[in-house]
C-alpha cells in the first residue's frame, strides 16, 4: 500500500494542474496570437500613419445607422457628412440628415460653434485643449453625434490597439471601383470593418461598425465619396461668423438648475 502513495500524489498533482490550467484558460482573454493577424495590423498602421501625417484633409461620406426600436424593429437613418481637419486642433463637421436637417460644427481652436441654418440658431462654448479632449467633450458633455471622428485622432492607431481583441485580414476587394484591403478589428464592444484603398494613399473607402454587445446588434455604415488631402479655403471654413438673423441659444448644460428650481419648478 505504501508503494502507491507517490503514485496517488502524482495523480492528485496532475489532476490539480489540469484544474488550474482549465480555470486559467477560462479566465484568460479570448484573444490568441492566431486572432491578431499581423497583416491586418500592417494595413491599419498604414492608414493611421497616413492620416496622422496629414496636416490638413477633408472627406465626404454617406453614412447610415440602425436605430433599434423598443418593439425590436430596426430602422435605418442616415446623413451626408463632410469633415475638414486642420491639425492640431481645428475641425469643421457638416451633416445633413436624410429628412433635410442640416448642422455645421466648427472647432476653431478656442471655441466650439454649432449652427443650424433652418432653425436660425447657433451656440458656442469654450473648446478644451487637444483634439481628443475637445471631441470627448463635444460627444460626452454636449451630446453631439460626431461619426467618424475616431479616424481624425492623432492617436487613432493606439486607441484601436489599446482595446483590440481580434484583427483579421480578409483579403483584397473592390469598393466603388477602388481596389481595397478588407480588415476586421474587434474590441469587447464592437466589430469594426474597414476597406482601405491599396497603393500610395491608404485611405478608408468604407467602414462598418457592428455594436455586438447592444440589443439587435445595430450597425453604423459609412461609404466615403471623396478624400481631399489638400483642401482649399481652409481658414475661411474654420472661422464662424454668426449669420444675420441667427439667434444665439444655450447648450443645455449652460446655466444653473437652481435658478430654474427657484421659480417653482420641480
Amino acid at each position: 500500500m505504501e508503494e502507491n502513495v507517490p503514485y496517488r500524489v502524482l495523480v492528485c498533482a496532475l489532476a490539480l494542474a489540469v484544474m488550474i490550467a482549465s480555470g486559467a484558460a477560462r479566465a484568460a482573454p479570448a484573444t490568441t496570437d492566431a486572432e491578431i493577424d499581423p497583416e491586418a495590423l500592417a494595413v491599419l498602421r498604414g492608414l493611421a500613419d497616413h492620416l496622422a501625417a496629414a496636416q490638413q484633409f477633408a472627406f465626404e461620406a454617406e453614412t447610415s445607422y440602425d436605430a433599434v426600436q423598443e418593439s425590436g424593429v430596426t430602422v435605418e437613418f442616415g446623413a451626408s457628412r463632410r469633415a475638414l481637419v486642420s491639425r492640431p486642433n481645428r475641425l469643421r463637421l457638416e451633416g445633413q440628415r436624410r429628412e433635410g436637417a442640416k448642422a455645421v460644427t466648427i472647432f476653431d481652436g478656442e471655441a466650439i460653434w454649432v449652427h443650424s441654418p433652418a432653425a436660425e440658431a447657433y451656440a458656442t462654448v469654450e473648446q478644451p485643449e487637444g483634439m481628443d479632449d475637445a471631441i470627448d467633450f463635444a460627444v460626452g458633455t454636449l451630446r453631439m453625434k460626431a461619426p467618424l471622428v475616431d479616424l481624425i485622432s492623432p492617436q487613432f492607431y493606439e486607441t484601436v490597439m489599446g482595446e483590440l481583441t481580434r484583427a483579421f485580414y480578409l483579403g483584397e476587394t473592390v469598393v466603388a471601383g477602388v481596389p481595397c484591403e478588407h480588415v476586421l478589428l474587434s474590441n469587447e464592444y464592437t466589430d469594426f470593418q474597414l476597406w482601405i484603398a491599396t497603393g500610395e494613399e491608404p485611405l478608408p473607402r468604407r467602414i462598418v461598425i457592428t455594436y455586438r454587445e447592444e440589443p439587435g446588434e445595430p450597425q453604423f455604415r459609412a461609404q466615403f465619396l471623396d478624400w481631399d488631402m489638400a483642401p482649399a479655403n481652409v481658414e475661411a471654413q474654420l472661422k464662424f461668423t454668426p449669420p444675420d438673423g441667427a439667434e444665439r441659444i444655450r447648450f443645455y448644460i449652460d446655466g444653473r438648475p437652481e435658478d430654474l428650481e427657484a421659480e417653482g419648478d420641480a
Binding site: Q69, G95, A103, D136, V139, M144, E163, I249, D259, A266
Partner: protein, 162 residues
C-alpha cells in the same frame, strides 16, 4: 346623483386632455413625424459612428469621468492650499461651476429620458409664441408650460422647464 355624474365626466375629460398632451410630447420626443411619416426613435449607440464604447455610450462613461474629475479636483485643492489663498478661491469657483454644469446636465438628462421636450418639427404644432425673459434667458410660455430653446448636441430642441 347628476352632480356625481357631472364630476365623473369632468374628471374623464381632464384625464383625456392630460393623456393626449403627454402622447403629443412623447411623440415629439421621438423626433416627431418629420416628413409626414410615423415617428421613430432615432438614437442608440450606432448613431455615434464610433467603435469606442466611451463615445457610443457617453452617458455611462461621463459618470465615471465625473468621479475621476472630483478626485482630481480634490487633489488640486490640496495643492492650492500651499500655493496661496487667492488661487484657492479661484479653484472653488471652478469646482462650483463644474458642479452646476453636472447638476444641470443631470437635470436635463432626466427631462430628456422622460420625453419632456419638443423637436423643431413638432414645435409648429405646439404653436407657442409668447416669449418671456428670466434673468436674461429667453423662454416660451404657453398654457402654463415653459419651454427653453436649447442645443442638445447639434439639434435644436424645446425643453420643457416647468
Amino acid at each position: 346623483m347628476s352632480r356625481l355624474h357631472g364630476k365623473l365626466a369632468c374628471a374623464a375629460i381632464a384625464a383625456m386632455i392630460v393623456t393626449l398632451f403627454t402622447i403629443d410630447i412623447v411623440e415629439a420626443a421621438r423626433g416627431g413625424p418629420g416628413g409626414g411619416g410615423r415617428s421613430m426613435h432615432r438614437g442608440g449607440p450606432a448613431a455615434s459612428g464610433s467603435f469606442q464604447r466611451s463615445r457610443a455610450r457617453p452617458q455611462a462613461t461621463s459618470q465615471r469621468r465625473d468621479t475621476r474629475q472630483d478626485v482630481r479636483g480634490d487633489r488640486r485643492e490640496v495643492r492650492q492650499d500651499v500655493g496661496g489663498e487667492r488661487r484657492e478661491v479661484r479653484q472653488d469657483v471652478r469646482s462650483e461651476a463644474r458642479e452646476w454644469r453636472g447638476n444641470r446636465r443631470e437635470w436635463y438628462e432626466d427631462r430628456w429620458r422622460r420625453g419632456l421636450f419638443v423637436s423643431v418639427t413638432s414645435w409648429r404644432r405646439v404653436g407657442c409664441s409668447t416669449i418671456i425673459y428670466v434673468d436674461g434667458v429667453k423662454y416660451y410660455e404657453c398654457g402654463g408650460v415653459r419651454y427653453e430653446r436649447v442645443y442638445r448636441g447639434t439639434e435644436v430642441v424645446y425643453i420643457i422647464v416647468s
